[in-house]
Each structure stands twice: as structure tokens, then as C-alpha cells.
Amino acid sequence: MQIPSSELVGGGVSFLLTLMVLSYLIGDNPFFRVAVYLFVGVSAGYAAAVAWHQVLWPQLFLPLIFGSLLDRVLALVALGLGILLLLKLHARTARLGSVSMAFLVGVGAAVAVGGAVMGTLFPQIRASINMFGLLGGTGTLIYQLIKSSVILVGTLTTLIYFQFGAKASPNGPQVRSWVGGLGWIGQVFIAITLGVLFAGVYAAAITALIERLNFLWTFVISL
């Protein structure tokens, strides 16, 4: 089968870069460095291009040029904040930039707090409670009860493990013995959870390795 030249070149570049990156397994070496620096440059350039095309142009400049008065005013504020931020690039004007950074941080903090309360705390608490509604899910009622109870114990003991407050003692700060006991159970759940996650990550990683080796082999035999 005739491979288009662009595909051949692209495949060749991918082939070489893959080998260069995998060479890190032998040790840090110039090939790996070249591939990595190239990658960092390309990805940064690509992300900047996307930021321009997908954010600044459609969300800032288009409204500024073609939008309604309100859109233009709002866009002007955003533009002003953006320009202030760019002032950070110069030592003298850097302080002005902290205004827009403060805005960014303030909004970010609020999004984090809102997301934590409305997006995690309440939904997870609700889910923990609803487990015992025994509506969804599979298996017998007993199984559902046992499963829900185990998950509940895991959730609570894990949460308790993180207890920070402790009493000062000659042997250093000590949490109450019963809290420590529950925390220890929590640690067991944490170890199991992280073990499961590690297995998942490993499965993903080895899939990536398979995909790369598969690509290398496919490219070689396609030549």
C-alpha cells in the first residue's frame, strides 16, 4: 500500500521521537533532552495558539469589535485586566499586574470553595446516605447492606484518619487512642484505595507502552 508522504514523514518523526523518549529508560541522554525540549516548545506554542483562537479572539476581541455596547464594556474590563497582567512582564510595572492576579486568585478561590462545598461535600455526603436507600445497585438486600456498610466505614474512618488536632504529651503530640484506632482502620482503607488506583494507573501506563511499541512495529513493517 502506498503511504502518503506526509504520513511517512509524520510517522518517521513520531518513530524517532518515540525512540528518543524511550531512551530515557537507559538513562538521561541528549536524545531524550532533544525530544523533551522540542515537545515542550511545540506544546507551549500549540497551547498559546489555542488560547488565542479559542479564548481571546472569540471571547474578547469579537465581542469588542462586533458585540453590543454591554458586550464591549464587559470585554473592555476584561481587556484592561489582561493588559494589567501583561504589565507584570516589566519589573517597573509589575506591581500593577498584581491587581489582575488578585482578581484571578479571588475568583479561583471562590470557584474552589463553591466547588468543594456544592460539588464534593454535599454530593458525597448525599451519596453516602443514599447508599442505604438500597434502591440502585445490584445484588441482594443483605449484600447491599454489607457493601454500603463497608463503604461507610471506609469513608468515615478515612476521614477520621486525617484528624490533625492532638494532645501534647512527653512522646510528642498524640491523638486520642480511639481516634487513633479508627484512623488506623482508615489507613488500611487508604492503602487499599491507593493500591487499586496504582493498579489502574499501571494498566493505563502499560496500555500506553503497548500502543507505542505497536506503533513502532507497525511503522517498521509499513516501510
Partner: protein, 850 residues
């Protein structure tokens, strides 16, 4: 041999008795001491090793050649060995057991003769007094033997000049001391006329000296008693001292030292004699003695300083060096003695004495006691510069520092401690890791370790150095002799070769302790010099330094081995994994049957739901994964999207990741047969949705506004309003889509879509294709019904392939996945077990060493 005498009351005690029957002083070192032999090299141990080696010259039984640890005190047997070598006259001098301590002539020799002093050395002397010189003498003598010097000590020496010079520079001390001593006792006051503490200062107020004494009295009972005793009528000393007051202490030392060359010429042979006579002198007529000591000590310090800087003999030169050093040499071994010194103006002399004096005073008794035990001359001076209270620490550490870059920050801390500048934040952090023995520095000022300038040294002396209450007994013993030989002594310096002992208990005796011949070998056995008699604190130092050195060395060893084994391990794993993963790809071997997975509930649910979609259903597909996981996600989602396409669904792609749109294109190129989809007709890519969860919320509440334009490699489509194209025609809200598929590698992103877009979906089902590592977080959403279907990782993709009976990437990767995972499991299992064994062995070794 003779029964042991009490060092304090001088009474004889029965052989083997642990404590003095008369005053209760401990006579023998604790039995446990020798047995506490550490496995690792100890700082204080090296010199002992060296000297026990020398010990063989006097053919000691091997049983006695045990390593001696910091704080271990001399054992009786060693001194007993030397009895053989003692001249009879010395024995006779001693054989007067029942002489009351008050009677000097008999008592004094008993204390002063080498053998006796050797014997005495078996009794635990008060640590603060004799331990420092003894202990450091080991250091000094160790410096003589290159091959036996431990690294840390070598580094110490590398700072302190070359091996041979150090002893040479240091031997000047005892000789000077002897010389001075020979000259000073002339003014030794008769004991009876010893005035009350208050008297002498007043009486001597006219000379510069009594002012000192007045000041020194404030240093505690001992100095109060002793100093006044002789100072008033001590012209030599006062003459010598008259130079001293106006000059800063650092400059004061050289004054006597200018005579050094003479002493070196005249007194080389009789150094021993002078040494032997020092204890009495140093004890009885303390003023001349301790003043000469001061000189001697000062010179010794200077010698040490000098040798620490460079090898140097020319005194004027090194004096000038010293002056510069007094200001700047904070890091040189001896420098702490001078650190923090303030030049003393004559007016200041009426106040408390210069710190360095009070410190040196604290050492006088120490040095004399040590010499009374007949320390080897080469060895004795070695410690003396470092024996100054604060010095062992900086000296050791200045040696350790270059060798030990990361000893828990100790060297830096020492410097930090000596630093008079305000502690920086870095130091604050540092102090968090201060070893106990270093943090004890401040709480334990005074005679032992703190530099002289530390206030309160004098006050602390009694507590530490009253124990050396054997000093008063010396004083009692020596006085009369000094008085008798005073005249003879006055002329002694004039004589070139002094062959007659002029002072001390051996007065009148000829050929006492001839320099080298005869007694050389006897003095040689340096058991005494090297019997490390460290105080508790010094012992703590030694132990701490040993820990320090050990802790410093071991990680290096571990790290280096780790590095090597790390590379090997990595290479082996690479080889095995690549073989396990690569072979099925290269050979195309089917190691697992195509239908090897049992049906998975959530995968079946996904399959069923897609099958129920009507043709031309508008479906939203979210590409929210990183390029790194494209391999896994493409394999997992290939047949899901393929089935959607085959049902004729109209697809809309969107992403909250900047690389998502490109990944969507790549997905179609690599996983779907070309030409099946046409941008703008059967599918549309809305591109990148900025803002994370907020962007999702915007899109959920008003999709057309949040992502209005099409993203396409087709110029006709790219940048146009996507919402007028077939895939989005008639779609206003999120709920207008027939299904929403989220392809993601991140549980956070998946949760964002569920939480932000879920409420706007209405009855529209949301399904997910996720990476294997997101399963534990996403699975509950399937259980709770928020997700109607879930395909997880390569395994899920393979299960889906089995469901649709359409082999794809899942099948292509499955064999390698199976062999690769098995290999990884074996490696982790075996390697983990081996690591556990290594860790267990390492822990055990550490425990044993601890």
C-alpha cells in the same frame, strides 16, 4: 604493688576497693566501661588504638589492648605494667603509705612521680580537670600516625597543618610551661602566710596583678582561694603581667612566648622533670603556676592556631598572625578561645578578669592534673589548645565539616552558634535539627565546653571542678617544698642544663626523669596519655560525633549502592517488560483467546443504550483526556464511537482541554474507517471550551453561546456557526441531545461534567468512557444512576468489542496487555519481596550498630 591511694585524701586503700574508705572517692573506673566497645569507629577511639599499639612495645598482654572509648578511664592494670619500669628511687619515694596528706615531702613525690601518677591515673580523676587534656592528648598523638587517623580526624589535621608539624608545634607547650614554672615559683608564698581571699587583692592592688586576682575571686571559691596565695609577691609574674593588662588578651599571650626559642634550646631534655614538678606547683602556689600556665596555655593555643593555619616556627611572625587571627580566625581550631574577646583596657582590669583568663584558669588545674599523671609530652600539648572549654567542638567540627557536607547540619550549626549575628530564618530552620549535644551547648556553659567568654564560667566551676578537690591536697603537699627551693629556683633559669630538680617534690634529686634516655620508653607507653578520661559531656560529644560521622557515612554508602542497583534494576525491568509486551506484537501470537472476558454489567448497559438510539440522533461526545492517555482511551472508545456512527448518530465533539479538539480529529483518523464521517455533515467539532467547570456550566446553561463556532480542518466549515449545521440543528439546550458521552482520563473532569452538566440533562443519559485509573471515583456515579453506562480502560474496550463482536484496538493490544501485566506482577512481587528482605536486613544492621 602498692595499694591504690585516694587521689583526694591520699589515704591508702585495700587492693581492689572501689571507693576510698576515708573520703569515699571512687578509686576504680566502673567495670562496665571497658566492655562498652562500639562496633563502629569512634572519634575518641582512634588515638587509643594508636597508643595501645605502642603499648605493645612494653609488651602488654593483648587483653589490655582493648579499644578505649570516650569517657573510659584508665584501668589499674595498665599502670601496674609500668611499675616494672620505674626506677627504684621513685618507688621508694612513694612507699610511704601512712604519711598524712598534710606532709608534703612524702606526699608530694607520691603524687608526682611517674609511676605513682600513673597509678593515680587509674583512679577516676575529676572529669573537668584531667579529662580534657587526657582525652585530647589522644587526639594529638593520633595526629602523629597518619595511617591510623580516621577521616574526620584527618580532615581536622588537614585543617591544622601536616601531621609532623602539629606535635612539634604543640610540644612547645609543656616545655614552655616547665620553663615558666621553673622561673616563677621564686615568689612562692609560704603557706602559713597565705592570706585570706580578700587580702591579697587589696595588698597587691598597686601592681596590675592583684587587680586580676580581685577580679578572679569573683570566679568562685577555688580561684578565690588559690590565686591570692602567691600573686602578691611574684615579681616575675607581675612583671610579665605588667605587659598584659594594656593589651588585648589575644596579644597578651605572645609576650612570654617571645622567650620560646630559648626554652626550646634549654629545656628540651628536662621537659619531663618540669612536667613532673608542675602539679605541685600548679596546685600549691597557684599564682605563679597558673600564670605561667596562662602563658603556656596561651602559647599552646597560638601554636595550635599556627599549626592550624600553616607550619610556622618564627615567633614574631606567628605572633602577627595570631593578632590578625584573634580578630578573624573564628573557624580555626583554637579561635573560639578568642572569639568574642574584647580588648582589655587597663581600666577594665579592676573589673572582672578577661574572659580568656577566667577560662584558662579553669584549665590550669586540668592541665596540671593531667601532667601529674605523667602524660606524654608530645601528646599532652595536643589537647591543650583544644582542651580550652569551647574548643573540642569547633575543632572537631571544623575538621568534620569539609568531610561531612550533610551531617544533619551540625557543622553549620556550630558556626551558627558562634555567630554573633542575628539568626537568620535558615538558621531557625536549622535549629530544628540541632542534635541534643549541640543544643546542650548553651545550657552547659562554663569550664567544660562553652567558650570562656560565656558569663558565669566562674560560678560554674565549683559545681564541676570542686570534685577536683584533690587539688587542695596537692596544695597542702607542695607548699613546703616550694618554699625551700625558692632560692635555688630563682637562679635556675640561668643555668643551661638543669640536671637537678629545683622545685616540686623532687627537689634536690638528680636525674629525675631524664628527657629521653632510659625513661623514654617508659614515658613512651602512652596508656595514660591515651586513656580517654572524658567527662560525661565530652563523652556525649564523642558519641554524638560518632553518630554524626556514622550517619554521614552510611547514607553515602547506601546511596551509591542504590544508584548502581537502581540502574541495573531499571534495565532488567525494561528488558523484561519490553520482551513481554513486544513479543506478542511482533509475533502476533494469540496468548489469550479473543473472548476471554466475562460480560461486564456497565459495558453491557452502554451497548444496550447505544443500540436503542434512533438513527440520526444528535449525540454529544466530549473528548476530555490528555494526549498521553490517547492510547488507552482510543482503544476503549473505538467501538463505542464506532457503534454510534454505525447507528447513524450525528455527533458533536467538544472538549474542556486545549488539546481535546486535536485529539478528536486524531481519534477519528486512527480508530474509524476513513470517509465514514464528514465534518459539518455527520459530525461537528465545537473545539475547546475554556474555564473548566465554569465553562461546562456555561455550556450546559447556554450551549450556543458558550461554543458558537465550528473547529474543522475543512476551511468551509471552520469558524462558521456550528449551530446551523445538521449535527446541531434544533439543539438549544443540553437536554436536546439524545445522549452525552464523556471520554475522560480524569475523575475530576468526569465529576465536573456530572455535577455541572448533569442538572441540565433532563432525561438525556450520560455515559462515560474512562481511563482505568479513574474507575474507583467514577464507578459510584454509575451505581447511583447518574451514569447510565461506563466503559473502563482497555479491559472495558475489549469487553465492548466482545459485546459488539467487532475486534479492534482492544483485541490488538490484548495479548500484550495480558503478558505485560503478568510480567509486571511477577516483577513487583519478586522485586518487592527482595526489597522487603533488604530493608529488613538493613534495619537489623542499624539496630545492631545502635
Amino acid at each position: 604493688m602498692a595499694e591504690p591511694r585516694c587521689p583526694v585524701c591520699g589515704q591508702p586503700n585495700p587492693e581492689g576497693s572501689e571507693t576510698c574508705q576515708f573520703c569515699g572517692t571512687r578509686l576504680k573506673p566502673p567495670a562496665a566501661a571497658p566492655s562498652a566497645a562500639p562496633a563502629s569507629i569512634r572519634p575518641g577511639e582512634e588515638p587509643v588504638k594508636k597508643n595501645t599499639a605502642e603499648f605493645e612495645k612494653v609488651s602488654l598482654p593483648s587483653s589490655e589492648r582493648q579499644p578505649i572509648h570516650p569517657g573510659e578511664e584508665p584501668t589499674k592494670k595498665n599502670t601496674a605494667e609500668l611499675e616494672r619500669a620505674l626506677p627504684t628511687w621513685l618507688k621508694t619515694l612513694r612507699d610511704k603509705p601512712d604519711t598524712p596528706p598534710g606532709e608534703p615531702p612524702s606526699q608530694t613525690p607520691a603524687q608526682a612521680t611517674p609511676a605513682t601518677s600513673a597509678e593515680e591515673s587509674s583512679t577516676p580523676p575529676p572529669p573537668p580537670l584531667n579529662s580534657v587534656p587526657e582525652w585530647l592528648s589522644g587526639l594529638g598523638s593520633a595526629a602523629a600516625e597518619e595511617q591510623e587517623i580516621p577521616d574526620w580526624l584527618a580532615s581536622l589535621r588537614s585543617k591544622g597543618g601536616t601531621g609532623p608539624d602539629e606535635p612539634e608545634g604543640l610540644t612547645a607547650f609543656p616545655q614552655d610551661a616547665g620553663r615558666e614554672q621553673g622561673s616563677t615559683p621564686a615568689g612562692g608564698p609560704p603557706p602559713a602566710s597565705a592570706p585570706p581571699p580578700e587580702a591579697p587583692p587589696q595588698g597587691a592592688a598597686g601592681e596590675g596583678l592583684p587587680d586580676w586576682l580581685k577580679g578572679l575571686q569573683s570566679e568562685g571559691p577555688e580561684s578565690a582561694k588559690q590565686e591570692p596565695a602567691a600573686q602578691p609577691d611574684n615579681p616575675d609574674v607581675s612583671a610579665w603581667l605588667s605587659n598584659l593588662p594594656p593589651t588585648p588578651p589575644a596579644e597578651a599571650h605572645p609576650t612570654p612566648a617571645e622567650e620560646l626559642p630559648d626554652w626550646l634550646k634549654k629545656l628540651k631534655e628536662q621537659a619531663a622533670e618540669t612536667e613532673s614538678s608542675q602539679p605541685p606547683a600548679s596546685a600549691t602556689e597557684l599564682t605563679p603556676e597558673w600564670l605561667t600556665r596562662l602563658q603556656a596555655e596561651a602559647e599552646t593555643q597560638e601554636d595550635a592556631v599556627q599549626s592550624a593555619r600553616a607550619q610556622h616556627e618564627d615567633i614574631p611572625d606567628w605572633l602577627s598572625k595570631l593578632e590578625t587571627k584573634a580578630g578573624t580566625g573564628a573557624t580555626a581550631p583554637a579561635s573560639p578561645a578568642f572569639s568574642g574577646e574584647v580588648p582589655v583596657s587597663p581600666t577594665e582590669l579592676n573589673g572582672p578578669p578577661p574572659d580568656w583568663l577566667s577560662k584558662l584558669q579553669a584549665d590550669v588545674t586540668a592541665a596540671s592534673e593531667a601532667e601529674a599523671k605523667k602524660e606524654e609530652f608530645e601528646a599532652a600539648p595536643a589537647p591543650s589548645p583544644e582542651s580550652l572549654p569551647a574548643e573540642p567542638l569547633p575543632a572537631w567540627l571544623s575538621g568534620v565539616q569539609p568531610e561531612v557536607p550533610r551531617p544533619g547540619g551540625t557543622p553549620a550549626l556550630i558556626i551558627g552558634n558562634e555567630d554573633k549575628g542575628p539568626p537568620s530564618a535558615g538558621e531557625a530552620a536549622f535549629s530544628m535539627e540541632t542534635p541534643d549535644w549541640l543544643s546542650k551547648l548553651k545550657p552547659e556553659p562554663g569550664p567544660q565546653e562553652t567558650p570562656a567568654p560565656v558569663p558565669g564560667t566562674g560560678e560554674q566551676q565549683p559545681s564541676e571542678s570542686l570534685e577536683p578537690g584533690d587539688l587542695p591536697s596537692w596544695v597542702q603537699a607542695m607548699r613546703p617544698v616550694e618554699a625551700v627551693v625558692a632560692e635555688a629556683k630563682a637562679v635556675a633559669p640561668a643555668e643551661g642544663q638543669v640536671t637537678t630538680e629545683q622545685n616540686g617534690p623532687l627537689a634536690g634529686l638528680r636525674g629525675v626523669l631524664p628527657a629521653v634516655p632510659g625513661l623514654g620508653p617508659l614515658r613512651k607507653p602512652p596508656a595514660y596519655a591515651t586513656k580517654l578520661q572524658a567527662s560525661e559531656t565530652q563523652q556525649r560529644y564523642a558519641d554524638s560525633l560518632e553518630k554524626l560521622v556514622y550517619a554521614e557515612n552510611s547514607p553515602h554508602a547506601i546511596r551509591s549502592t542504590l544508584r548502581i542497583s537502581g540502574h541495573l534494576l531499571r534495565w532488567v525491568i525494561v528488558l523484561l517488560l519490553f520482551l513481554a509486551v513486544g513479543l506478542p506484537i511482533v509475533t502476533g501470537a494469540q496468548v489469550v483467546p479473543p473472548t476471554s472476558l466475562p460480560p461486564v454489567e456497565e459495558v453491557q448497559a452502554t451497548y444496550t443504550l447505544i443500540g436503542q438510539l434512533a438513527p440520526s440522533s444528535q449525540v454529544l461526545v466530549v473528548f476530555d483526556y490528555e494526549p498521553a492517555l490517547s492510547g488507552e482511551l482510543e482503544a476503549a472508545a473505538q467501538n463505542v464511537v464506532g457503534q454510534l456512527i454505525s447507528t447513524g448518530a450525528l455527533l458533536t465533539f467538544i472538549s474542556t482541554s486545549p488539546t481535546g479538539p486535536a485529539l478528536a480529529d486524531h481519534f477519528l483518523q486512527t480508530t474509524q474507517p476513513p470517509g465514514k464521517l464528514q465534518s459539518g455533515q455527520t459530525y461537528i467539532n465545537l473545539g475547546y471550551l475554556a474555564g473548566g467547570p465554569t465553562g461546562i456550566l456555561n455550556f450546559a446553561s447556554w450551549p450556543g453561546k458558550a461554543a458558537p463556532y465550528a473547529w474543522s480542518t475543512d476551511p468551509k466549515v471552520d469558524g462558521n456557526n456550528a449551530w446551523v449545521m445538521p449535527p446541531l440543528l434544533g439543539v438549544v439546550n443540553l437536554s436536546d441531545f439524545k445522549a452525552v458521552f464523556v471520554l475522560t482520563d480524569s475523575a475530576d473532569t468526569g465529576r465536573n461534567w456530572i455535577e455541572q452538566a448533569g442538572p441540565s440533562l433532563g432525561s438525556t443519559p450520560m455515559l462515560m468512557v474512562i481511563s482505568a485509573q479513574a474507575e474507583p471515583m467514577m464507578r459510584p456515579y454509575y451505581d447511583s444512576g447518574q451514569l447510565k453506562g461506563l466503559v473502563t480502560g482497555l479491559a472495558g474496550g475489549k469487553a465492548y468489542e466482545q459485546a459488539v463482536q467487532h475486534p479492534g484496538l482492544g483485541q490488538a493490544y490484548w495479548n500484550s496487555f495480558s503478558t505485560g501485566l503478568l510480567m509486571a506482577e511477577i516483577l513487583i512481587l519478586v522485586g518487592g519481596a527482595w526489597s522487603a528482605f533488604l530493608a529488613w536486613r538493613e534495619n537489623r544492621r542499624k539496630e545492631e550498630e545502635a
